[in-house]
Amino acid sequence: MTSKRTMTLNLSDLEMDVLETLATRKDISKTGVIRQALRLLQMIDVRAERGEKIYFENERTKDKAELMLL
């Protein structure tokens, strides 16, 4: 985590609104949200590549829905 590189990110108004909402809800900066998103997307991608499936479970009803990754 020593060297860091800078990039410019062009987002639509809606994308920026979502990013700002997430930053507020997660109590981190917009850069922090992007960094978390990268970690999660990489993890999902690696596990899906291994043939694993990803589910969302409703805690109350225990209904499960598979997250389809194309």
Partner: protein, 207 residues
């Protein structure tokens, strides 16, 4: 955390001296070799002894089956997974694996990102009987402080979370002073602990 090792301090119990320890981000092959050659024989010896004495397995050291080679291999290349080793006096004294992709459960922090301590283990000679230690004290505190520090660095405000083995609950509850959120039926029924930002600051500033 940088690529350079961070100098922290632990106590050498035989002399009472406070000595320097180096915390390295990412567990290297040399650490894994040391784990295999120095930790494993002592752990296996204790397990064999307890087995021959008829001690029920629920009273054995609860991390005895952890395989750090498999754990480290499974994290390689993943941005959300970090590993740490702590070395002092030329020996591997502690290991830790952190997950940066999880969220807080504490009601006041719900959904906010945390540093989750997946595994934290100290060398067998740093553990109380039936092991021969502790020869050094403070390994768990130093590694917990590193986890909290990583949480601050990632803007997570010091929030960390973990599932504790029963033998370590007292440490997390009374030394780190984390909030005990009770047994987790979805995770081996282990108790789940978290720090709020205030608890993390208090631990980081402790004397």
């Amino acid at each position: 955390m940088t690529d350079q090792p961070q100098t922290m301090h632990i106590k050498k119990n035989t002399t009472g001296a406070i000595i320097a320890a180096e915390v390295h981000q990412s567990i290297q092959d040399t650490d894994l070799l040391d784990w295999q050659k120095t930790w494993q024989p002592e752990v296996n010896e204790v397990i064999q002894k307890l087995g021959s004495q008829g001690v029920p397995s629920k009273n054995w050291p609860q991390s005895f089956h952890w395989n750090w080679i498999n754990k480290v291999r499974a994290t390689e290349g993943l941005l959300g997974q970090e590993t740490f080793s702590l070395r002092a006096e030329g020996q591997l004294q502690g290991l830790m694996h952190l997950d940066l992709t999880k969220s807080a459960r504490h009601a006041s922090q719900s959904g906010k990102p945390i540093v989750y301590v997946e595994y934290l283990e100290t060398a067998p000679w740093n553990r109380a009987p039936p092991f021969r230690g502790p020869l050094f004290s403070g390994i768990g505190s130093v590694l917990t402080a590193i986890a909290i520090n990583r949480s601050f660095e990632e803007e997570f405000k010091g929030r960390i979370g973990l599932h504790s083995l029963p033998q370590s609950e007292d440490f997390y509850r009374n030394t780190v002073k984390m909030t005990d959120l009770g047994n987790d039926l979805n995770y081996l029924n282990l108790r789940y602990f978290e720090t709020t930002p205030e608890q993390a600051i208090a631990f980081a500033e402790r004397k």
